[in-house]
């Protein structure tokens, strides 16, 4: 009887301690009140415990069990609410919200632990108190005793786990990644698939309740890392760095100013619009006689509305697709070009009205480069039915061959060396996250996890891993390479879809007449991701200038233009460069004006311009340096051949924003 009462007191003590812990955590007011009620009731019950063996003992036990069950239900509800809160908030960029999410995550771990303890304690109490059954729960069949083979495996893993496996890893010079370790946040990971895989796994572990290498859901990333390390160091086969399918791979977006601007490096205007915000600083002039530095800000109003509303890249895009007005805004962009040679302090960017040399508005009417378009649905269905089915089959086969998922516990590696490595890695992850504490931001936590994964990947015990494991990984690598190649082919075909955009530009002269230009922009692709862009435009005077004795009053239309550009993206190292060649024909219907506003007689006529150039990127940051050389038979004011060099700097915020705040 004393033993039974000891168990009962154990339950009461645990329930009491749990209530004490939970009462300090934020919870909905109703639940908090209920918790306090249970606390008071249990305290009352404990204070009035009946004598052992008395008639009141049965009722006492039943009451205790009932309170425990209800408390457990509350904790489970709280756990669900915490998970939901974390899921909803974890994409926010706000520091306060990030800190709150980390506190919730820490609290969730505590609640999980508490629920387990409570259920265990109730199970013990159930041996003596069986009056109350809160809900019929399925009763799983009892766990079978471990087999001799399992015991032997666990002993081997235990011995290996206690050993320093670093001696069995490949030499550091061989195992280490060729790329420098770039942080996953705030910028994206580096260009290699290996680096992106490290970050991908870190983000996924950060989403898990406990950041451990989980063989129930992390094998896609984990096998990729293992292939990179194990096949690289011990086999003739090497893992292929896949071609980036990232935002910077798009060649259809125009960030800088159009060809009419003094500072532009392009002859042709492209059709795509950035989702959020673009900045271009360019020096040179494609068709103008003066060559100055211009700064162009290009803004997507829909994206800006979402950003100001603190919505992420995905959430914002998704919501805009359901709102006709936001959807329209999402297909527009506004451009503001500033000429730094203007104003009271020429050469210094002030961004004031005097330096505003052009304003533009662009609407994208057709864009067939979105993989989710209905016209590509059948292609994706066929892709899934063939290539993803094949990859899934290999992943399942390799998973079954390399892991043991037959017990109710976590899935384990069959290879004892890998399992020991996994256990050490989980310990390292746990230590790092615990030491960092709950106050660490989500981004820092992802970087921390990525750092640990990177270190642990270099310590994979290459010399201890079985040949069977390597054979299975090789099977996966071959199928995965084929899958990725086919997927890239389909994405490349979609990236050559048609684009049609109309742009209106208002150019503000200092003394020269203000001009309006309407440009029709069409683009399509051909061959191996070559991008073809064509422009047709006409320019008219906002206000027709008066004539002089030398120059008669001009008509409303000033000029019309046709232009075409061929863009060829190519990989150099890990970065994607764009080479382009373009040509432009302009018919000046009226005489051109100088900056001072003087109409120069005899300048009517034809202007032909050719250009070739190269976009030099900084990988994954959305920054490009366009460099180009332009040949012209004349300029608008001077009827002489000219060769001009242009250099610029463009920044596409989409690339960075999609990494910084994806949700």
């Amino acid at each position: 009887m004393i033993k039974k009462y000891s168990l009962g007191l154990l339950v009461i003590t645990m329930v009491w301690s749990l209530i004490g812990v939970q009462a300090q955590q934020p919870a909905p007011p109703n639940d908090e009140t209920k918790i306090r009620d249970y606390q008071a009731q249990i305290q009352l019950l404990m204070a009035n415990a009946p004598a052992p063996g008395s008639d009141a003992e049965t009722k006492y036990r039943a009451g205790l069990q009932s309170l425990s069950s209800q408390l457990r239900d509350l904790l489970l509800e709280k756990r669900g609410a915490l998970k939901s809160k974390i899921s909803n908030l974890q994409g926010s960029s706000s520091t306060e919200i990030k800190n709150y999410v980390e506190a919730l995550r820490s609290e969730l771990l505590n609640v999980n632990s508490d629920v387990t303890k409570l259920e265990n304690a109730m199970g013990q109490a159930g041996a003596i108190v069986t009056v109350v059954q809160p809900q019929p729960q399925p009763s799983p069949s009892p766990l079978p005793p471990p087999t001799n083979a399992q015991v032997a495996f666990e002993t081997t893993v235990k011995n290996l786990a206690a050993k320093d496996l670093t001696k069995e890893a490949a030499p550091a010079v061989v195992a280490a990644s060729a790329d420098p370790a770039t942080p996953c946040r705030p910028a994206s990971a580096g260009g290699s698939k290996y680096d992106r895989t490290i970050c991908s796994l870190a983000v996924r572990l950060n989403n898990q309740i406990k950041p451990t290498l989980n063989l129930s859901q992390n094998t896609g990333d984990l096998f990729t890392i293992m292939v990179a390390k194990l096949l690289k160091t011990n086999s003739a086969e090497s893992y292929v760095t896949f071609i980036t399918e990232a935002q910077e791979a798009r060649v259809d977006q125009q960030v800088g100013s159009g060809p009419g601007s003094k500072g532009t490096t392009s002859l042709v205007v492209k059709g795509g619009v950035p989702y959020l915000f673009g900045l271009a600083v360019e020096n040179g002039a494609a068709t103008q006689s003066e060559s100055d530095t211009t700064i162009t800000y290009r803004v997507n109003p829909g994206g800006m509305v979402n950003m100001l509303g603190k919505k992420g890249f995905i959430t914002g895009y998704k919501e805009s697709q359901n709102d006709p007005f936001l959807k329209f805004l999402g297909k527009t962009s506004l451009g503001f070009t500033f000429d730094t040679s203007r104003g009271n302090t020429p050469g210094v960017f002030t961004g004031d009205k005097q330096q505003l040399s052009a304003f533009s508005a662009r609407v994208e009417f057709v864009n067939e480069r979105d993989p989710r378009l209905k016209k590509y649905e059948r292609d994706w269905e066929e892709f899934v039915a063939t290539h993803l089915v094949n990859l899934g089959q290999v992943l399942s086969d390799v998973g079954l061959a390399l892991t043991d998922d037959t017990t109710r516990g976590p899935v384990t590696f069959k290879d004892s060396a890998l399992q020991a490595w996994k256990q050490q890695s989980d310990d390292a992850l746990n230590d790092a996250v615990t030491k960092a504490g709950a106050s660490i931001s989500s981004d820092d936590r992802i970087n921390l996890i990525a750092g640990v994964i990177r270190q642990r990947a270099d310590l994979l015990p290459v010399d201890l891993v079985s040949e069977e494991t390597k054979t299975q990984l090789r099977n996966f690598a071959e199928q995965y390479l084929e899958y990725t190649t086919k997927k890239k082919e389909l994405l490349d075909r979609i990236a050559r879809g048609k684009i049609f955009t109309i742009e209106y530009t208002n150019t503000r002269g200092v003394n020269a007449p203000d001009l309006s230009n309407i440009n029709f922009i069409a683009a399509t692709g051909m061959g191996a991701r070559i991008d073809l862009t064509a422009n047709g435009s006409f320019t008219f005077f906002n206000k027709v200038p008066g004539g002089t004795a030398l120059v008669p009053k001009p008509g409303r239309i000033r000029d019309f233009q046709f232009a075409g550009q061929l863009t060829v993206p190519f990989k150099f190292g890990e970065s994607q460069f764009d080479f382009w060649f373009s040509g432009r024909y302009e018919r000046l219907v009226e005489n051109a004006s100088t900056v001072a506003g003087t109409i120069v007689p005899g300048t009517k006529g034809d202007i032909a311009v050719g250009q070739f150039g190269l976009n030099i990127p900084i990988k994954s940051l959305g920054i490009k340096f366009p460099v180009s050389v332009t040949f012209a038979n004349r300029t608008e004011l001077i009827k002489e051949k000219e060769v001009r060099g242009n250099i610029g700097f463009t920044f596409n915020w989409d690339t960075l924003f999609s990494k910084l705040k994806p949700f």
Binding site: K193, S216, G220, Q247, F313, I314, V389, G392
Partner: protein
């Protein structure tokens, strides 16, 4: 059915019990194939929902999930889970560098 471990995707149920699994693709086409109880992989039903009954012992449901955009996600909901809010267990896998294979295990 009860959830055994959220991250391990493991559940305890009873033989003959009906399990419902719902996949919802967000900002990507649904790119999911599955293998149930060791059968060959096939594409996930177009309506997003799969129902099956548990056999005695271990029932494996392997989902291989990929995306055709960088910024999408797939949400997988398992019903009916008695020890979860609304009797359903929700997992979200954001699109990442590599496909995810989620190995759901149902023990009876």
């Amino acid at each position: 059915m009860t959830e055994n471990d959220h991250d391990d995707l493991s559940y305890n149920g009873t033989a003959g019990e009906t399990v419902t699994v719902i996949v919802q693709a967000q900002n990507t086409n649904q790119m999911v194939v599955y293998s149930l109880k060791g059968a060959p992989e096939v594409p996930w039903p177009a309506n997003g929902t799969l129902e099956f009954q548990l056999d005695p012992g271990l029932n494996r449901l392997r989902l291989t999930i990929d995306c055709n955009t960088e910024n999408g996600s797939h949400q997988v909901t398992v019903r009916t889970v008695q020890n979860e809010t609304n009797n359903e267990c929700v997992h979200v896998w954001p699109c990442g560098e590599n496909p995810v294979q989620a190995n759901f295990r149902f023990f009876t």
